[in-house]
Symmetry: none
Subunit: 146 residues, 2 copies
DNA sequence: TAGCAGCATCAACTAGAATGAATATGGGCA
DNA sequence: TGCCCATATTCATTCTAGTTGATGCTGCTA
């Protein structure tokens, strides 16, 4: 497996994997490597192979060039600083899930509706989400741990 | 294809050159390429040739790897983001600031949990929220709307 | 069960990032 | 003037980032 290096420090691979988990297609399915690579190619005009993206995500390669970092940042809508190991990237990592959620029409809608609920109501919804997530996880297939 | 780029956009070479102009030795003399390269080598433990640094500064090379960007950022005491085009980072920074608005822990939690749900799951949750909101509205106070 | 389709994975190769040794340039000094 | 030192520049070479094409896996359909 990919070495996690020191505790607290997340590897580039982990950061990229997190993006795949959080940033989804309009139909809520995770993007495939091929989709992302293709989108990066079209957005930047530069080349970006699916295999290489997989290598980066799984930690077999960990030293991409500026161009590739830019392409990934653009596609996933995060600042390039996210891929580096400084204070800013930590903050981004924390907000990443919510950031992704707000960009997604479906989740944004849920969040906006939730604002009007009482604390009790929110708890109920939270439990519901847990239940559904559990069911979908069992059906959907094993994703690497979060 | 390196090109001086559009007005307003500064190239990587210009950014690096600026660092040389601004960041000086204790005796106020500009650093030489060799000094910087050596310092980067010693700070990071990785290799960094003077020739390559010169190539980056003069624009002959413009696509360094993550490793080299990190080394330069460390030596010149700038965030790695400095080397990237900030047009898009700015936009995303705004979005990050917007996140502060969703301060309510409960809502935030709901949004975060909802991220991984499928489209169907989101629909279900959305309906649930509607139902609860209606009930609470009836109890608590008149909430006008749909 | 075979056959297809989409995707992850692997190994072999290519391109270009990065290096090292050699050469040019300029400035100070005998 | 000629030499020397320091740094900039060039070029050939090495090494690794990045690509290509093949292979295997999983789920679906007939």
């Amino acid at each position: 497996m990919v070495a996690a290096a020191e505790p607290g420090k997340t590897t580039l691979a982990e950061k990229i994997d997190k993006l795949f988990q959080v940033v989804r297609r309009p139909d809520r399915e995770p993007y495939s490597h091929e989709e992302v690579a293709t989108a990066c190619r079209e957005a930047t005009g530069e080349s970006f192979s699916t295999t290489y993206l997989w290598q980066l995500r799984t930690g077999r390669r960990d030293n991409p060039t500026k161009r590739h970092l830019e392409a990934l940042a653009q596609f996933f809508q995060v600042p390039p600083a996210y891929f580096f190991d400084d204070a800013q990237s930590l903050k981004i990592a924390e907000e990443l899930a919510l950031l992704g959620a707000l960009r997604d029409a479906g989740v944004r809608d849920v969040a906006l509706r939730a604002v009007t609920l009482s604390a009790d109501g929110l708890d109920t919804i939270s439990d519901m989400i847990d239940a559904i997530a559990r069911r979908e996880a069992g059906r959907g297939g094993a994703r690497k741990g979060d």
